[in-house]
Subunit: 498 residues, 2 copies
């Protein structure tokens, strides 16, 4: 028997158990490395991964320390009597071995994997093993099975609503935060849109990061539901809700690995939308040679996949393939993106037209989920709602209801990247722009990012600014500067010079 | 600037950095989960993975804690001024993404991956990602490239020795510790055999575990070399040597995952042997339907692979495909296996004949590396060295030189598994026997394991003991008991009953 101690360390979803090297109850020398243990004493066993301690100020030989994640799960007071045994391998680990060997897994196997993940029987290494093993290929029924498993037990219910809409983008295009504008338009129209948004995984800013510049996004379920009820729309950081927990744990590992696979992304998006009670979803699949999805063939494969999974789950999915050849909007990074969005909602003449037009087009597709709306009228109605100021009004109500955010400052370490020759901007490399933005600190600081002053087709003079880097931290600024000179991401065609 | 503190926690090869949530120098809220950081202040930057602390007794806001692994690497006193930045992704991470996508990687890519692993730029998740991504397929040149990368910089030199022999087994067969007998015979013959042995990865006992029952196996390089020099043989736990460090780190993760891929195993074995200065290697490839290598085709593929890699590295490899259809010897588990080995070396009449014969056959192959020995004479000479007692004498000298171990006790929680009917033992399932042994605690406690009293072809009466389970811990004993009734691993053919 050991005495429970809380070690106030957060280890990003992983349960850790701290045991003294001279533990009185267990011979640590005999413990093989990285051992998984099962801790007994609470209502049910808690799984954790051992750390060996040689400092009685952390844990004494008669104690077992649990990090914050594991301590919450065991739900016992400090000093409680607990014991531990070596945990047998999680039952679903064999399924992963089968997947590594190239097999197709059954729905039962996916369900068992996700159950073991949410029960914290998987270490982050085991989760990595699952992600990478299924990262090379998954059949459509496998993606469906993973989606169903990720939905989880708790699903939001929207009483008396026949249609609950949402919009999501497969990503890969810097800027491109149509989501927030679409939410404003749908809410102004009156379709309930409980938008679940994520923080950035590999990009400069996720929708949750950008909207956090304008409003509080960390709402609990009750607040989220009441904001949607009263304002017909809300944008929540889905991490703050208790839904699709498996998907969150998996995302943490994906973020660490910087590895995001299309089929996992499809399963994760659709599971979250299902768990959020969405019935009708518009999904944007942007295609561009330097984007996440590089060819129309690939985009079509994803479209078919989401249509299949959507149909099987009785969710109406309208998957739209769009142009992802260059960044959308001028701002890349949360503060700059929020600026673009507010310019559009305020009908400012200098608002980025590409972001405006794309938002209206996609909002139109969302509005057309309404059976009352005549086919083909979505775009017109969306435009009317925007230009009349009703979308802005709806957005302001949502921001007020969620709680206005203290707007963070734009990073004031700046550098202008200028054209090395006169000509026409022939292309902008999304991946490169994203990389420079991430290095400038955009995924860490909302005020960091890139302000794109020129877009494809624009005429530039030699020495004219193409874009401006904004950084908050000097280190990030140095990082961005160190790579930008090698390749700015812009290609100028000088033959087009006048 | 933060003040360095040592957090006396061992985290199994992974560098961890502990930062207070109200850190004075860094805004922890802005740090994304599982962030990799670069710590500056030492001779070169040290990479680590963040843990967020909410207890000033562990770290204060002005401190940065490093676990034992990272603290050793930074090599600065506590209180030293250090700073941290977000670490850019390790350069070789892209190669892993290419491998997940099904590409063949170059030698430069494998070299860069292994360099990043040994520099601790990979988290254990990143290592998992590498192992699983290359776990589905590797070409022979890829295995060669990985082997070369794993050899590392430090290679043992054996001055004035033209032939340095070793023996290794690909595993999968319980018992089967021919290695120790072969070492005794080679040493008695006079061929230098610096045997590098490993602790168990997925089996009941590794060679290092079994020999640890008889002698100290944790020698440093100097001791190891002097024991070999004076006794023509030694058996070391290779973890104790400073060679092939990349291979050790990778093994730790493999042990945690319980995932061992043939090609990784080949690369790891050959890299360790190269790093140990071995010039001539006999490799045992046991084949059996319920073993690790299931078919002759698979075994032949491995044989060709090790021959190719051996040739490219100028190591003479004699790969021998052997019968792995049932356990070899009677003991499974370190203490029981050591008992069998000593019975053979002492020429006891009740010594297991299968282990004896296999050891002589393989020792013969090792001896025939000697150009002085006439082809086909290896077995005869090996037998002569054994029966004359010279192999025992050589072994005793090695044990004495390495330091005799205080022999651990055989587990005294026992249960006899008996035949449910009379007949002939038709088959024994290696995987099942291994599993029951592991559950009985064999990979944790040297005294745990199975004593196989009957082997294939033996006649048994109903109720006669087939094997005896030995456990040290009551929990393990219960584990083993809970599975053994479902399937003992033995098949009895009653038609053969008299």
């Amino acid at each position: 028997m050991l005495s429970l101690k809380h070690i106030a360390v957060t280890s990003f979803n992983e349960n850790l158990a701290y045991i003294h090297k001279d533990c009185s109850a267990y011979k640590v020398d005999d413990i093989k490395v990285l051992t998984k243990v099962e801790i007994h004493g609470g209502v049910r066993p808690v799984y954790a991964f051992l750390q060996i301690v040689d400092d009685v100020k952390i844990v004494k030989p008669g104690e077992l320390g649990l990090n914050t994640e594991a301590f919450k799960m065991i739900n016992l007071p400090e000093g409680a009597n607990i014991s531990l045994t070596i945990a047998p391998a999680a039952p679903s680990i064999n399924a992963i071995k089968r997947k590594i060997a190239g097999n197709i897994l059954s729905a039962a196997e996916y369900s068992s994997i996700v159950n073991d993940i949410t029960a914290k029987r998987y270490s982050n290494m085991d989760i990595t093993s699952f992600l990478v093993s299924s990262g090379s290929f998954m059949t459509a029924p496998e993606v469906l099975a993973l989606t169903e498993a990720l939905i989880g037990e708790d699903v939001l219910r929207w009483d008396n609503e026949n249609i609950v809409v949402d919009f999501h983008c497969m990503g890969g295009v810097p800027g491109n935060k149509t989501d927030i504008i679409i939410t404003a338009i749908a809410a102004a129209y009156g379709l309930p849109m409980p938008k679940t948004a994520a923080k950035s995984l590999t990009s400069c800013a996720g929708v949750a990061d950008t909207f956090a510049v304008l409003a509080n996004v960390n709402m609990d379920e009750e607040t989220f539901k009441s904001v949607v009820k009263e304002n017909r729309g809300a944008i929540v950081n889905y991490d703050a809700l208790s839904i699709a927990e498996g998907s969150k744990i998996v995302s943490t590992v994906e973020r660490h690995l910087g590895f995001l696979q299309q089929q996992h992304l499809v399963a994760s998006i659709l599971a979250i939308k299902m768990a959020a009670g969405v019935t009708h979803l518009v999904l944007d699949i942007p295609v561009g040679a330097n984007s996440r999805i590089k060819t129309t063939t690939e985009a079509m494969r994803i479209r078919k996949l989401v249509e299949y999974v959507g149909d099987m789950l009785s969710m109406e999915v309208d998957a739209v393939i769009t142009d992802g050849s260059e960044p959308i909007g001028n701002g890349v990074g949360a503060v700059l993106e929020a600026r673009d969005i507010m310019k559009i909602l305020r009908n400012k003449p200098d608002a980025p037209q590409d972001l405006l037009e794309k938002s209206l087009f996609l909002a139109g597709r969302v509005l057309e989920f309404d059976p009352q709306l005549r086919g083909g009228q979505g775009y017109v109605v969306a435009k009317e709602l925007l230009t009349s100021g009703r979308a802005l009004e709806a957005m302001n109500k949502i921001i007020y209801a969620q709680g206005k955010a203290p707007q963070p400052q734009l990073g004031h370490l700046t550098r202008d990247i200028v054209a090395s020759q006169s000509g026409i901007v022939e292309s902008i490399d999304n991946n490169r722009i994203n990389k420079i933005g991430v290095l400038a600190g955009a995924s860490q600081y909302p005020g960091a990012g890139l302000d794109l002053l020129k877009k494809v087709g624009d005429t530039v003079e030699q020495g004219e600014t193409l874009y401006r880097i904004h950084a908050v931290s000097a280190t990030d600024f140095a990082f961005a500067n160190s790579v930008v000179d090698g390749n700015t991401g812009y290609e100028i065609n000088s033959k087009g010079a006048y």
